[in-house]
Amino acid sequence: MSSLHMEFDVAGNNFVSAGSASDEVKSKLKSIGIDPTIIRKVAIGMYEGEINMVIHAGGGRAIVDLYADYIDVLLKDEGPGIADIELAMQDGYSTAPEAIRDLGFGAGMGLPNMKRFTDEFNLQSEVGVGTEVRMRVYF
């Protein structure tokens, strides 16, 4: 069975390059003819995740596995971790600093949107160790 493995470094504190991994994955999905509405789901899920790692974790890695029927996205960082996951998953809850919000980010919709736009969503986090988000979208 064919599959494609991709890994991306997501640089910390760089809002300009954030989203480049998402753009790359989008172009791959277009090349294999995935439905545009599904591409959009993957794009939003991944982009929000990249931004999260930029804002909160000083960067991280995006590991993507593309199969004929679905795509797996793993976002891994060694940031401060999330103390209260349930609270972090609520719409509008944000711990982003004021300066970041002034840039138009950190509205507290990142994690909820990632969950909303993907078919499977799993978040593991340990304070002081880091966070791992696994997302799957079926085609």
Partner: protein
Amino acid sequence: MDKSMHTVTLDYDKCKGCVSCMKRCPTEAIRVRNGKAKVLYERCIGCGECVRRCPHQAKLPAYDKFETIKNFKYKIALPAPSLYGQFNNLDSIDRVLNGLIKIGFDEVFEVSAGAELITDATHRMIAQDNLKMPIINSACPAVVELINMCFKSLKGNLLQIKAPVDVAAQIARENAIKRGIPASDIGVFFISPCPAKVFALKTGMCFKKPIIDGVLAISEVYFKLNEVLKDLVDIKPLAKSGSQGINWGVTGGEAEGTNMDRYLAADGVENVLQVLHDMENGKLDYIDFVELNACPGGCVGGVLNIENPFVARARIRNLKSKLKNKVSSFEEVNKPLDFYRWEEQLEVKNVFALDDNRVLALHKMEEIEKILETLPMLDCGSCGAPSCRAFAEDVVNGEVDKDGCVRKEK
């Protein structure tokens, strides 16, 4: 649709086979084969970027020769707003419009007047229709093609409204017929800043049938006008449009007319690509209206103009300040909204998928990645493809031999 119709052709003798056009094509639609640039027309969006980038003037934008107007007894000119930006110290639009009559046209209908009707129809559409936000304008045919081919998830955001020239052409023709001029005598000619419009108008993009008889280049008409303008006497009042319509010639002009405060205007095809990526990532959800123009500065940056876009833009601003009215009043304004809507949906295009079958496409992608590991990743273009990835794709698609890389260490 006439498949042989293209926006750009090649002057074979002038093309040196350099990589300038190929490297800048936003859809990777150019290859250099046998020492000459070859356009993969099914991927071409008609943006004119290759014409702009060619250092040897080998890329020829398509347009009709001025003489073609002689094929019709009754000739109607539709001047684009950017035409006015070509002239220095222009004090009124009437001067240019009278000049057009002098060089052989029987009637003029300003595209800027069509633009004002579109602005009015846009207001009505926003009020009545449940439009998907943010709205993307559809006046630039190259942008519409780009979205249609490469950003399909945003197709639903396109404002499905005709372009100013479309409306101008339809109304001008209707009016002439109403005045008793035989339909077969009427020739309607757009005086255009860009070759993308040639393609859109002649193939009838979003129309059941083509609505224009010819697309003339501003660059050609300019010289004919220049000869007659200085000696022009007895200037008749022909101009109808106000400053709002003229403003469509520059980037942001259409968006300003919508009266939506949260708008974004981007011009230049690379910037347009960036905005479309951001939109697809859900990054621009706080914007209501997105105006995109493939040419730098908007239509004044089209490759069929004479002046550089910044000068033309300054002139249009100056001309606007001299116009008394913001918008003209037309009886046509009362036309039902359906008159302004697209008559047909965009043709579905699937040119960037590696294969119609997803499993085979993924297999091809695996092959591409394997080939990429053997390539130097310099994107030098020497093989005739714009990037190492594009070369690998061409190999997998059986277009070129895998030994075509000239920089690979053997």
